[in-house]
Point group: C2
Chain length 454, copies 2
């Protein structure tokens, strides 16, 4: 398969062919492409143009294209189709997990309507069941399609049953072994089956060391378990150990990427997914909210500083180091919170007690604060600042670094305890807060030292 590259020329050509109603040539182009590539083309077209292409695709490809679209584009596209068409052309041709994902993006009424048009009641039930799990749980990530064999079967019976079952499943990674009550007992690899003789019973061959998760396990834990144990597929069970479905690594990769992007966006003060190619309006919408918070913080800061106007008028050199203090508070705060956020995300909080963590964080903060203050002190001595300014800057830097370290460490831990994404503490929020506190500390100290020395 040739490597696909989305070019302006290709889009222009497709647009032109749609305009000319040139079905033959369009079909030829589409046949050469992977559904994921067609999805990229869809995203550059209008809904009407995309619909024109959609009628040229077979059902399987159309369904694959749909799940490869970005959520926004998919919603726009589906809005233009009747519920019956969605059920027949898409849902019947998708794995249950993808079908459930797509239906979950619709409003409740539409969901019911689409589900009512699914011919296979078993599939409809499976999807309805998947929709019942909370977002970001193993249940919401899993698919119902899997291959299972009973421990009492022999290899011949297994292979016969598997031939029937594989028709429903795209790829066979693992065969699950269950007992008569569908309780998960273990796995049997295809390799094992290939090497076994046909009279062997599953009971003698299967591997009982299977790692599984409960359907209510959080997706983050699912990702960590699959990563740690290098799993490609992970079975999901209910509270009684009954096999419910399986999670494949591709869904978890998507989850890992999304979470990493979300944390990165929060740290950068962006409130949603945005790419260079998105509209000016979208760019503005994801950027403005945090800028407003920064703005409010800055204006509040200006009130704090104005309370010290007299002191600044008498000793204007106090203003020289205001940006330094603000910036260092921000830098230190972001560093501390980022370390905590990463440790939380990777499940590596460690088992130190909170008191030990506090003790260590205080040591690190004291070390950094001392080092930076010494530099500030030496610098001020070299450039010949007054004693008042030197002591103000040195002591303010020390206090700000100490404060920002501790706030940056404990705010995310606190947010995490209250089930708020700790990454919100890494962005403009913590910088702004540190800015205001830092400025206040600095100016208070300047009043003290300038009164002392001058």
């Amino acid at each position: 398969m040739a490597k696909f590259e989305l070019t302006r020329e290709l889009i222009d050509l497709i647009r032109e062919l749609i305009e000319q109603n040139n079905v033959a040539q369009l079909t030829e182009i589409l046949l050469e492409l992977h559904p994921a590539d067609i999805a990229e083309i869809y995203e550059e077209l209008s809904v009407d143009e995309a619909k024109f292409l959609y009628f040229l695709l077979d059902d399987d490809t159309a369904a694959e294209v749909l799940i490869n679209l970005e959520e926004d584009d998919r919603q726009n596209f589906l809005k233009s189709l009747p519920s019956e068409e969605i059920a027949r052309r898409f849902i019947d041709n998708l794995d249950t997990d993808d079908a459930a994902d797509i239906i979950s993006e619709m409003d409740e009424e539409r969901q019911k309507e689409v589900l009512s048009f699914i011919d296979d009641t078993e599939v409809a039930d499976d999807i309805a069941d998947l929709l019942s799990y909370e977002e970001d749980t193993a249940g919401s990530l899993m698919a119902k399609e899997l291959i299972k064999v009973r421990e009492s079967w022999n290899i011949i019976t297994c292979l016969r049953s598997m031939r029937r079952q594989v028709e429903e499943v795209d790829e066979v990674y693992f065969v699950y072994v269950v007992d008569d009550k569908d309780i998960l007992k273990g796995t049997i690899s295809l390799k094992r089956m290939l090497l076994a003789s046909s009279e062997n019973r599953v009971r003698e061959l299967y591997n009982p060391d299977v790692i599984s998760v409960n359907a209510n396990t959080h997706s983050e834990e699912v990702a960590n378990i699959m990563g740690k144990y290098d799993l490609v597929v992970l079975p999901v069970v209910d509270d009684n150990g009954k096999l419910l479905g399986r999670i494949t690594i591709d869904d978890v990769v998507d989850y890992i990427r999304e979470e990493a992007e979300k944390d990165y966006q929060l740290a950068s003060g962006i409130t949603g997914d945005v790419e260079i190619s998105d509209s000016v309006w979208r760019h503005t919408r994801v950027r403005v909210p945090w800028l407003m918070i920064g703005m409010m913080g800055g204006l509040l800061g200006s009130r704090v500083i104005s309370a010290f106007e007299g002191n600044i008028a008498r000793f204007p050199e106090v203003a020289f180091f205001m940006p330094l203090i603000g910036a260092m508070g921000g830098n230190v705060g972001i560093q501390s919170s980022a370390i905590i956020v990463q440790s939380i995300a990777s499940g590596n909080l460690g088992f130190e007690t909170n008191w030990r963590k506090l003790g260590k964080e205080v040591s690190i903060a004291l070390l950094n604060a001392s080092a930076l203050s010494v530099i500030a002190f030496i610098y001020n001595m070299i450039v010949g600042s007054s004693y008042a300014l030197t002591f103000t800057v040195t002591s303010a830097l020390f206090s700000v670094v100490l404060f920002a370290s501790l706030l940056g460490t404990f705010l995310p831990l606190l947010l995490n305890k209250f089930k708020v994404n700790p990454a919100v503490a890494t962005g403009p929020f913590i910088t702004t807060l540190n800015d205001i506190v830092g400025m206040f500390l600095y100016l208070i100290l300047s009043v003290y030292f300038f009164n002392l020395f001058m």
Copy 2:
């Protein structure tokens, strides 16, 4: 398998048992655990304690534990073992990709020594070949183990050959189809084989639409391709299309996680992996470098401001909004650069020309700059600032936001062009630069407007 949790109690127990030389009970504990869990325990122990455990493990488990260790811990541990032992106990029991990863962490002399102790010359050659690829390429990610069949074979011959081949391979995901010159022709799924009759030839059954990558493809592109096309395994070929090896998704997941963490760390001003549980010294070492840069920036900024001392002394209210200007420049710059860095990482730079990108970014910047300036203007009017201050703040905010947007957008693009990780532009570097430039603009404008109005 019971869910494993690393606790202080477990570590204390294991330490005690090691002290007591209680091999029986230790073996019992270790037998219950997954190698990835044992690796977590290793990381809490001293090298001598870890070595004690290591002698209790069978070769396969010992090798698995080794690849699950963090790089630092692994290096420390391997240093204490003779090369022959490493080759015999570890390398022979690992997949070629894992073996190559571990050997690549050693110095060149040790590498040669370890390779010379590998009994199977084919394996030694495979590993030496893998070591020859540059870091962060498909070649460095791939493993040599795979199952391939010739297109001319029938299913019987395939199964016979596969039985031999599977003994070398842990899991069978795909069977590759090659011609007589080992050129990759396609894949045949196990499902397809299960459904076929035994006389069918591979030629009639295989799927020629196989996505592959050249061994020199960058890992980031490998990750994007596997993500986009939802691949669990990706074959690697040389320039002639000859099948060299395959990359499995677990290695790519590790890569994705590491890259996301690296970008996140760069954006937060941390220079390396660090977790809460790491030592105070390690924490200081990864934090201090960027803090120094922030510090230099702040000190340079203080020189810039001191040039305007006279103006600040006459009009101290100029100082009120200095932190606001600095913070907004930083916030806007980080936002802009983060969007570019994410777009570059996900391969979604789009096909707009640079001029179109510039045009759009200018529109976004103008929109944000206008909105924020209007707020600053209204605020200053409400609190009754002088005209001079109002115009200074409004126009400085406008210029700083515009400048920071454009710098934040084009600096990462420029770095990327020169093959420098663009994420370095998202951290303290861009904030510091924007701080200094912003302060300069603000103070220049204050001189102008205060001369105009006062």
